[in-house]
C-alpha cells in the first residue's frame, strides 16, 4: 500500500493498520510553514538518537541551500549515515520495527527513514556452549551486523561474500549466506539461496528453523550441518570451503556441508599441537562407538552369547546378576532412561538446584539401587561409561543422534543377541552412507575414500602437511604454496 500525500492521513492509516499499538510515537513539527511529521517505535528506537540527529537537524535546517524540493533538503540535512526513501506502508513497518524513524512531509507521497536503533542485545560475550581452553573466546550474539562483523574482521578478503535473503512473512528476518567466492563452487551457493527463497513460513526466530527447513529431503537424526556460536570456528570453516548461514537474532550459525568426522572435531583443534589433537580425536571416535554400542553389546553377551565372555569374567558377571529381579534388557533400559531423565533435568534446571540433583543421581540412583538389588553393579558401570562417552562431543545434535541409535541397538540386541546387533550395525552403516549434504556424502573422507582429506579427519597432520583444502569441498585446493617449506628452510 502506497503512502499518501497527507501526514494526517498517513497517521490515521498507520493507526488503523497497527491497532494503535502503545509504542508508536508520532509528532508533527512545523518548519518554515511546512509540516513535518515523524513516527518511531519507542520500544526499538533510541530517544537520544532521535533528539540528537533528527530534531536538531530539522530545526537547524538551512533553507537557503539550493535544493529542488523540501524533501531533498531534509534528506540531505540529516546527520546520519543510514538514510533511505520509502514509499509503501510495508516498507514503513519493516523499518519502524527495525528501529528506524520515519519522516513524513506534507504533500509528498514519499517518506524518509533514518536509523535510530536502540541497542537491544548483550555485547560480545564468552561462548557458553562451546568452552575451550585455548583460542579466541568471543562468540556470536543476537545482533546480526555484529555477527557479520565478527567474521569479517577475521577474513579481510574481498572474496568473502555475504548474500542476504529475507525469510519469514511476518518476522522478515535477514538470513545471510556467507562464503568465500573463489573457494566455494557457485552451484552450492545458488542451491542454498534458491532453497532459502522458496521457504514459506511466517517467522524465523532462530537458526534452528532454517536448519530444519533446509534438511527436508532426508530424514535422519544425524545432523548434517554444524551449529556453532564461535566466530573463529565459522571462519576456519569458511576457509575450508564451507558455507555459513547466519540468521538475524540468533547467536548460533550453521555451517554446511558437514560430514560425520566433523563432529569428532573441536573448535580448539586448530590451536593445539597436531599430535595431541589426533589423540583427542581418536578418543572421540572410540567414545562414539562406546556410547553407541556398549549397552547393546552387554545385553547380547549377557542373554545370548555367553560363550564369548572369558571364564573369570563370566563367573563374576553371573554372581553380580544374582538376585536381580529384572531381565538384563529391562535393567539396562531402566538405567539408560534414568540417565536421560537426569540429563534432561540438569540441562534445564537453574544452577542452584544442581547439587541436589548430583546427590539424587550419584547416591540414590547409583549406590542405593545396587544395594537394594534392583540393578547389578556392572550395569551401573556400563551406563556410566556410555553416558560419559557421549558427553565428549560438543555438538548436542550428535549426542541426541547417538542416544536414539543406541536405543535401536538395544532393541535389536534384546530380541536377537549378537545377530541382531550386527544386523542393526549394518543398517546403521547403510543409513549413514545414504546421507548427503550439498552433494557431499556423509561418510567422506572414508567412503568415498579421499586419501588427502584423511590427513585432517580422524587424525590431524601438522599444518605444513595440510597444504590443501579438503578436496570434497572445493576445487581450489591450494591453501599454502607447495614451496613454502623450501623457501623457509
Amino acid at each position: 500500500m502506497n503512502l499518501q500525500n497527507s501526514i494526517k492521513k498517513n497517521f490515521e492509516m498507520l493507526n488503523k493498520l497497527n491497532g494503535k499499538s502503545s509504542d508508536i510515537v508520532t509528532r508533527i513539527i512545523e518548519k518554515n510553514s511546512k509540516k513535518i511529521g515523524y513516527i518511531y517505535l519507542e520500544s526499538v528506537s533510541s530517544d537520544d538518537k532521535i533528539s540528537d540527529f533528527l530534531n536538531k537537524a530539522v530545526i537547524n535546517m538551512d533553507r537557503k541551500k539550493p535544493f529542488d524540493s523540501f524533501y531533498d533538503l531534509i534528506k540531505n540535512s540529516i546527520f546520519n549515515s543510514k538514510v533511505k526513501s520509502i514509499d509503501t506502508f510495508e516498507d514503513m513497518f519493516y523499518h519502524l520495527s527495525s528501529g528506524f524513524t520515519v519522516i513524513l512531509i506534507d504533500k509528498c507521497d514519499k517518506a524518509i527513514v533514518v536509523e535510530t536503533r536502540q541497542k537491544l542485545d548483550r555485547g560480545v560475550t564468552e561462548s557458553t556452549s562451546e568452552t575451550i581452553t585455548r583460542g579466541p573466546k568471543d562468540s556470536f550474539t543476537e545482533n546480526h551486523n555484529m555477527n557479520l562483523g565478527l567474521i569479517r574482521k577475521r577474513i579481510k578478503d574481498s572474496n568473502l561474500w555475504y548474500e542476504e535473503v529475507i525469510v519469514g512473512k511476518r518476522s522478515k528476518s535477514k538470513v545471510a549466506v556467507a562464503y568465500i567466492k573463489d573457494i566455494v563452487p557457485n552451484y552450492k551457493v545458488k542451491k542454498i539461496i534458491d532453497e532459502l527463497k522458496k521457504i514459506d513460513i511466517d517467522a524465523v526466530i532462530d537458526t534452528g528453523y532454517i536448519r530444519e527447513l533446509l534438511e527436508k529431503d532426508q530424514k535422519s537424526v544425524f545432523p548434517k550441518v554444524i551449529s556453532t556460536e564461535r566466530p573463529d570456528f565459522a571462519s576456519t570453516s569458511l576457509l575450508d570451503g564451507k558455507i555459513v548461514i547466519l540468521v538475524e537474532n540468533s547467536p548460533f550459525v550453521i555451517i554446511l556441508p558437514a560430514v560425520l568426522t566433523d563432529f569428532f572435531h573441536s573448535p580448539e583443534d586448530n590451536y593445539q599441537k597436531p599430535f595431541n589433537v589426533s589423540f583427542s580425536r581418536i578418543l572421540r571416535a572410540i567414545c562414539f562407538f562406546l556410547a553407541l554400542l556398549t549397552p547393546a553389546l552387554y545385553i547380547s553377551l549377557m542373554t545370548f552369547n555367553h560363550e564369548i565372555i572369558p571364564d573369570q569374567l563370566l563367573i563374576s558377571l553371573a554372581i553380580q546378576r544374582e538376585g536381580v529381579p529384572f531381565p538384563t534388557a529391562i535393567e539396562v533400559l531402566l538405567f539408560v532412561l534414568t540417565f536421560e531423565v537426569l540429563r534432561e533435568a540438569d540441562i534445564h534446571s537453574p544452577s542452584f538446584s544442581g547439587s541436589a540433583m548430583n546427590v539424587v543421581g550419584a547416591l540414590i540412583l547409583g549406590d542405593a539401587a545396587v544395594a537394594a538389588g534392583i540393578v547389578s553393579p556392572i550395569v551401573i558401570i556400563i551406563i556410566a561409561a556410555t553416558s560419559i562417552s557421549e558427553l565428549v562431543f560438543y555438538d548436542v545434535d550428535i549426542i541426541d543422534a547417538i542416544r536414539e541409535w543406541r536405543l535401536l541397538f538395544i532393541l535389536a540386541a534384546t530380541f536377537m543377541g549378537l545377530i541382531g546387533f550386527v544386523a542393526m550395525f549394518i543398517i546403521f552403516i547403510a543409513k549413514l552412507s545414504s546421507l548427503e549434504c550439498l552433494g557431499t556424502p556423509y561418510l567422506t573422507p572414508f567412503s568415498p575414500l579421499k586419501l588427502r582429506s584423511l590427513k585432517n579427519s580422524i587424525v590431524r597432520f601438522s599444518r605444513k602437511d595440510l597444504k590443501n583444502r579438503p578436496e570434497y569441498l572445493t576445487k581450489n585446493l591450494k591453501r599454502m604454496d607447495d614451496k613454502y617449506e623450501k623457501n623457509n628452510s
Binding site: 549377557m302 542373554t303 545370548f304 555367553h306 560363550e307 565372555i309 572369558p310 571364564d311 573369570q312 563370566l314 563367573i315 563374576s316 558377571l317 553371573a318 554372581i319 553380580q320 546378576r321 544374582e322 538376585g323 536381580v324 531381565p327 538384563t328 545396587v370 544395594a371 553393579p377 532393541l411 535389536a412 534384546t414 530380541f415 536377537m416 543377541g417 541382531g420
Partner: protein, 395 residues
C-alpha cells in the same frame, strides 16, 4: 505411505517373532568351571564344580567372590551321570566355559575315548580347557581343595598349569584341542601331566584351609602319564618327564644341577629349543634331535673357579651330557612301553607318507629300531654378578 507401513510392520514382526531364540539370562545357569571324571564300579562318576553361587552374606556390594559347590552323579554314560546332577542342581548346568577337566587314573587306564566324547559333541563348550590326570586320589577330590590364592579350585589348577608350563621343564600344558588332535592322528601318542593331592581331602575342602596361612592340604602338579592309544600305560618319573618335554619342544625354561668336583653348579636355561627332523636312508628310519639354547649359572657351591674358561667349558660339556641322558631315558621309557609319545611317526607320515603307511601297523612295536641321533648344544653364558662362590670370596 502404505509401503512405509508395510516396512514398519514387517520390522516389528521380524523383531518380535524371533521369540528371543536362544535367550538365556546368565544367572539362570550354574556355571561349571571344572569337571572331574571318576570310575565307581562299572559306572562313571562325574563331578562338576559350580562356581557362581553367591556367598550367603552377599548383601555387601563386594560380592564378586564366590563359594564353590561340587556336585556329582553316577551313570553308565557321562550324559546319564550329568542328568543325575541335574536333579540336584537348582539351575541348568552351563559347560560353555569350564577351564579344567580332571580324569582319574582308573578312567585313563580303561581308555579316555568314551569319557571325552561328550565334550567333543557338546555345542557350546570351548575346546581350550586343560586336561590333567589325577594320581593316587579321586579326580573329584582335586576339585574340592580350596586354596587361599585363587578364588576357586579350578582356577588354581589352570593358573598352576599355565605358569609352570612356562617356568618348569617337566610340566607341559595339554588342552583339549591338543588332546583331540593327538588322539585323532596316527604316529603320535598322548602324554598328560598329573595332579596330586597332598594332605587330607576333608580338611582341604573346608573353609579353614583358606583361612590358615599354611594350608594343610593342597594340590601339586606332577609327572607325565604316558598313553598308548587312549589308555594310560605308565607314569614317567621326573627325569623322564623332562626328557619327553625336551624332545617335544615343550620346554623353554629349565634348570639342571650338575655335580662338579666336590660341589655342584646349577644352570638355568631360558631359551631352550629343540629341532627334531626325520630322514629315511635306504629304508632305514633315522631321527635327528638337535637341542640348543643358552644357559647361565645361577647357583654355585664348592671350590669352583668360574673365572677359568676351561672350567666353564667342562661344565657346559657335563650339562650337555646330562641333557642327552635325559633324552635317552625318555626314549627308553617310550620303547619299553611301545608308545610313540614324541610323534616321530607323525613326522615320518608328513615327510615319507608311503613309508609310514607301510609301517603304520607296527610303528609302536618297532620304535626301538629307530636310529636316534641326539646332539645337544647348550651354550653357557657366564653372566653372573659374582664370579666365584661366596665361600671362596670370604677366604
Amino acid at each position: 505411505m502404505i509401503n512405509m507401513k508395510k516396512i514398519i510392520l514387517s520390522l516389528i514382526l521380524l523383531l518380535t517373532l524371533s521369540g528371543c531364540w536362544n535367550y538365556n539370562e546368565l544367572n539362570e545357569f550354574s556355571i561349571v568351571s571344572g569337571v572331574a571324571i571318576d570310575k565307581s564300579g562299572d559306572e562313571y562318576e562325574i563331578s562338576v564344580l559350580i562356581s557362581n553361587s553367591p556367598k550367603s552374606n552377599s548383601s555387601d556390594s563386594n560380592s564378586s567372590e564366590s563359594q564353590v559347590v561340587v556336585y556329582s552323579g553316577k551313570g553308565e554314560s557321562i550324559f546319564s551321570a550329568l542328568k543325575q546332577i541335574g536333579l540336584i542342581s537348582p539351575s541348568e548346568l552351563y559347560f560353555g566355559s569350564f577351564s579344567v577337566l580332571v580324569i582319574s587314573e582308573e578312567v585313563a587306564k580303561d581308555g579316555i575315548n568314551n569319557a571325552i566324547d561328550f565334550f567333543v559333541r557338546y555345542p557350546s563348550a570351548r575346546k581350550n580347557f586343560y586336561v590333567v590326570l589325577s594320581k593316587d586320589s579321586k579326580a573329584k577330590d582335586t576339585l574340592k581343595i580350596m586354596t587361599p590364592l585363587s578364588s576357586f579350585p579350578s582356577q588354581q589348577i589352570t593358573d598352576n598349569v599355565k605358569t609352570t608350563t612356562e617356568l618348569q621343564g617337566i610340566i607341559a600344558s595339554t588342552n583339549f584341542n591338543d588332546l583331540l588332535s593327538t588322539i585323532l592322528s596316527d604316529g603320535t601318542e598322548l602324554s598328560i601331566n598329573c595332579i596330586k593331592i597332598i594332605g587330607d581331602v576333608e580338611e582341604g575342602s573346608s573353609k579353614e584351609n583358606i583361612e590358615s596361612s599354611e594350608p594343610k592340604t593342597y594340590t601339586k602338579l606332577g609327572n607325565l602319564g604316558i598313553f598308548k592309544e587312549d589308555k594310560l600305560v605308565d607314569w614317567a618319573n621326573r627325569e623322564e618327564s623332562l626328557g619327553i618335554n625336551i624332545i617335544k619342544g615343550a620346554t623353554e625354561e629349565m634348570f639342571l644341577d650338575i655335580e662338579y668336583k666336590d660341589g655342584y653348579v646349577v644352570i638355568d636355561s631360558t631359551s631352550f629349543s629343540s629341532d627334531v627332523s626325520v630322514e629315511l636312508k635306504n629304508e632305514e628310519p633315522k631321527v635327528n634331535i638337535g637341542l640348543s639354547g643358552e644357559a647361565r649359572i645361577i647357583e654355585v657351591e664348592g671350590d669352583i673357579d668360574l673365572k677359568d674358561s676351561k672350567v666353564i667349558e667342562e661344565i657346559q660339556k657335563k650339562a650337555n651330557k646330562k641333557i642327552k641322558k635325559r633324552v635317552e631315558e625318555a626314549m627308553d621309557l617310550a620303547i619299553k612301553n611301545k608308545t610313540d609319545i614324541f610323534g616321530f611317526g607323525q613326522m615320518f607320515y608328513q615327510k615319507y607318507p608311503k613309508y609310514f603307511n607301510k609301517e603304520k601297523e607296527n610303528w609302536n612295536e618297532n620304535l626301538d629300531k629307530l636310529k636316534i641321533n641326539i646332539s645337544s648344544d647348550l651354550m653357557l653364558k657366564n653372566k653372573v654378578s659374582s664370579k666365584n662362590s661366596l665361600e671362596e670370596i670370604n677366604d
